[in-house]
């Protein structure tokens, strides 16, 4: 089932499906290692509108909630 990264609870794993945004946004994510087909784990989601931390390929990346809402992830039911 597809969900945005923002909707995922900490600890959830999923496969990155696609990004919603312009080519510049997509390149920014891909070049830091967040790419379609990669497995992603939500490390933590900071409360009160704080950022989301994910792990891809053993590397952690912090991204703001606006960006997290534009990353679509395929998660098992």
């Amino acid at each position: 089932m597809e969900k945005t990264l923002l909707e995922l609870e900490p600890g959830t794993q999923g496969t990155i499906a696609r990004f919603i945004g312009n080519p510049g946004f997509v390149r920014k994510l891909r070049t830091i290692g967040i790419r379609e087909g990669k497995t992603l784990t939500v490390v933590t989601r900071h409360p009160l509108g704080g950022p989301v931390v994910i792990e891809v390929d053993g590397r952690e990346v912090t991204l703001g909630r606006g960006m997290a809402g534009r990353v679509v992830v395929d998660v098992a039911e």
Binding site: G24, G49, G50, P51, V53, E60, V61, T62, G64, M67
Partner: protein
């Protein structure tokens, strides 16, 4: 002379390789027309000396921010590129490698953090990678220097890639995947205790406690290092200097020149804090009172940076700072600002857009008291009780947040969200940390000390010709009517523009109540930065930006002063 350029992603140990290649004679300066700092040094190649440039870390040559733009431009200056690649994260790093090789520039790849890759169970077929990329590939460990000699040796073999041709973005991603698949094998690895501890520092609650502990430790270290430097380095230096100034004082004899250069003598002796001469207080304040703490702040910041803690702190701080229009890195100008607002103002460069830098700089000048101001608050209000000191700091905290919330709404422009990689914790490379601290301190000496010096000269002159008294007479009615302060406080506040510490000495003899002093001291902190910060802000924000910031400061000071008066004194 040939130019060697180091290119690589952020956090791959590029500056460690740079300091190994160049030694200590390094210059860091703004890249022409930008606010991005770039380090340059020299090294020896078999065919003579060569310049080395450490390009800012970038993930691709299609820039998304000013630092990456500079990196792309620097590539154009290269005769040889050393592409520093993180061996623990080959796949992601290869994108930039391919983009670089597609340009047809002679290159060598340094496969850095080679030891860490081994620990993590990652094996890379170096010969295979070399064949696929068509340029020399050398495993290196920047921290220990392993592989550096071989890297230098193979710079002579640097050549345009024989295998990589220009390709489309999609093809490039496919090539990255293919190459990684062919040369890299990863042994499965379980999460270790260290991993779990590292994760605790980024979770909301445990992370907050760790952050508070780290910040407390950082400030303690700053104090300890700063006081140590004063007691064992700078004061002994001034003890050696005293007989020379005394000699000069005798030679000059009384008069206007003595007044400006040496200042007042107290019982025939120089008092470095109060004499106010250019050669006495003018040297002592910047070098023996401010510089030691700047060294300490920059050292601690460099260590926090090089251990990899800073991105974690920025992640935790983001929850707060992004509401004020900045993002997590907004905490750096605040941290440095507590030492001196000048490095704080310079540090606003860590933020990407004009709007963010404006907000960060304005809020810092408004509500972050520097070491001199903190000493002033305690010195003036401490004798009346701690609660008055707390009142000042609480007011400043409220001002920081309130002004930030408002500026975020009204200032036009963009506020990009936080987006950063969290590198693994690493032991800092002492050489690189020391070099970085020294670069920053040297930058501070060049950018701030002349203005601190000029500030003292200016206040001496204005004071002796009676200009300040004139201004004070104009502003006195505002002081009395709006703020409930005696007319004499106006002079103190005006002097405070140039010298906050001197202003204190003028407030104390006015015999004000502690409530009045709280108002005066808060005003003194908020309404304007010192002259050195002012000049740096003018450069960082431009004349229009500085004018807007000054407007915010004066307005905020009057509003806060008036509000405090109503709360503390009544009508």
């Amino acid at each position: 002379m040939k130019t060697v350029v180091l290119m690589g992603n952020p956090n791959v140990g590029k500056s460690g390789i740079f300091s190994r290649l160049t030694g200590t004679r390094v210059i860091t300066s703004n890249y022409a027309g930008t606010t991005v700092d770039v380090s340059r040094g020299k090294m020896h190649l078999p065919d003579g000396p060569a310049g080395v440039i450490d390009a800012p870390g970038t993930y691709s040559l299609t820039p998304t921010n000013p630092a990456e733009e500079v990196a792309a431009r620097i590539l154009g200056e290269a005769d040889i590129v050393v592409n520093v690649v993180d061996a623990t994260n080959l796949e992601r790093n290869l994108y930039l490698t391919l983009e670089t090789l597609e340009r047809g520039v002679p290159a060598v790849v340094a496969l850095n953090l080679w030891d860490e890759a081994g620990h993590q169970g990652i094996a890379i077929d170096v010969a295979g990678l070399e064949a696929l990329l068509g340029v020399p590939v050398v495993p290196t460990v920047g921290l220990s220097g392993e592989g550096i000699r071989e890297l230098v040796g193979r710079l002579g073999e640097a050549r345009p890639s024989a295998t990589i041709r220009p390709m489309s973005e999609e093809e490039r991603w496919a090539t990255v995947g293919r190459i990684t698949g062919e040369v890299q094998t990863i042994a499965h690895r379980h999460h270790t205790l260290a991993d779990r501890l590292a994760e605790a520092s980024i979770r909301p609650i445990s992370g907050l406690f760790i952050a508070l502990a780290v910040i407390a430790a950082a400030f303690l270290a700053v104090r300890w290092i700063g006081e140590g430097l004063i007691a064992y380095v700078f004061e002994p230096l001034f003890d050696l200097y005293t007989p020379i100034v005394m000699r000069a004082s005798d030679l000059l004899g009384p008069g206007i020149l003595h007044e400006i250069l040496i200042g007042r003598l107290f019982e025939g002796e120089i008092d470095y804090v109060q004499s106010m001469g250019l050669l006495t207080t003018g040297l002592f304040v910047p070098f023996a009172m401010i510089l030691p703490y700047i060294v300490a702040f920059y050292l601690v910041l460099s260590i926090l940076e090089d251990t990899g803690y800073l991105p974690r702190l920025a992640t935790l701080a983001d929850t707060f700072f992004h509401r004020l229009g900045m993002h997590g890195y907004g905490i750096i100008p605040v941290f440095l600002g507590f030492g001196c607002n000048v490095p704080g103002a310079l540090a606003t460069r860590v933020l990407e857009t004009k709007k963010q830098r404006f907000i960060a700089a304005t809020l810092m000048s408004l509500a972050i008291p520097c070491m001199a101001q903190i000493a002033m608050v305690f010195g003036v209000l401490g004798p009346f009780g701690l609660r008055y000191v707390v009142m000042v700091f609480a007011t400043l905290a409220v001002v920081y947040v309130a002004a930030g919330l408002i500026l975020n709404r009204v200032v036009p422009g963009e506020c990009p969200e936080i987006f950063l990689e969290i590198p693994p914790y690493r032991a800092p490379d002492l050489r690189a940390t020391a070099t970085k601290t020294w670069m920053r301190v040297r930058g501070f000496i060049g950018e701030a000390i002349p203005y601190l010096f000029l500030g003292i000269l200016l206040v001496n002159l204005l004071y002796s010709v009676g200009f300040l008294d004139l201004l004070a007479a104009v502003f006195a009615p505002v002081m009395e009517a709006w703020l409930g302060l005696p007319a004499g406080a106006a002079v103190a506040l005006l002097v405070g523009f140039l010298r906050k510490d001197l202003a204190v000495g003028m407030l104390v003899p006015l015999g004000m109540s502690p409530e009045q002093l709280v108002i005066a001291v808060t005003m003194l902190t908020i309404y304007f930065p010192c002259v050195a910060t002012f000049v740096v802000l003018l450069r960082e924000l431009g004349a229009r930006g500085m004018l807007a910031a000054a407007g915010v400061m004066v307005t905020a000071a009057l509003l806060v002063g008036g509000a405090l008066r109503m709360i503390l004194i009544g009508f």
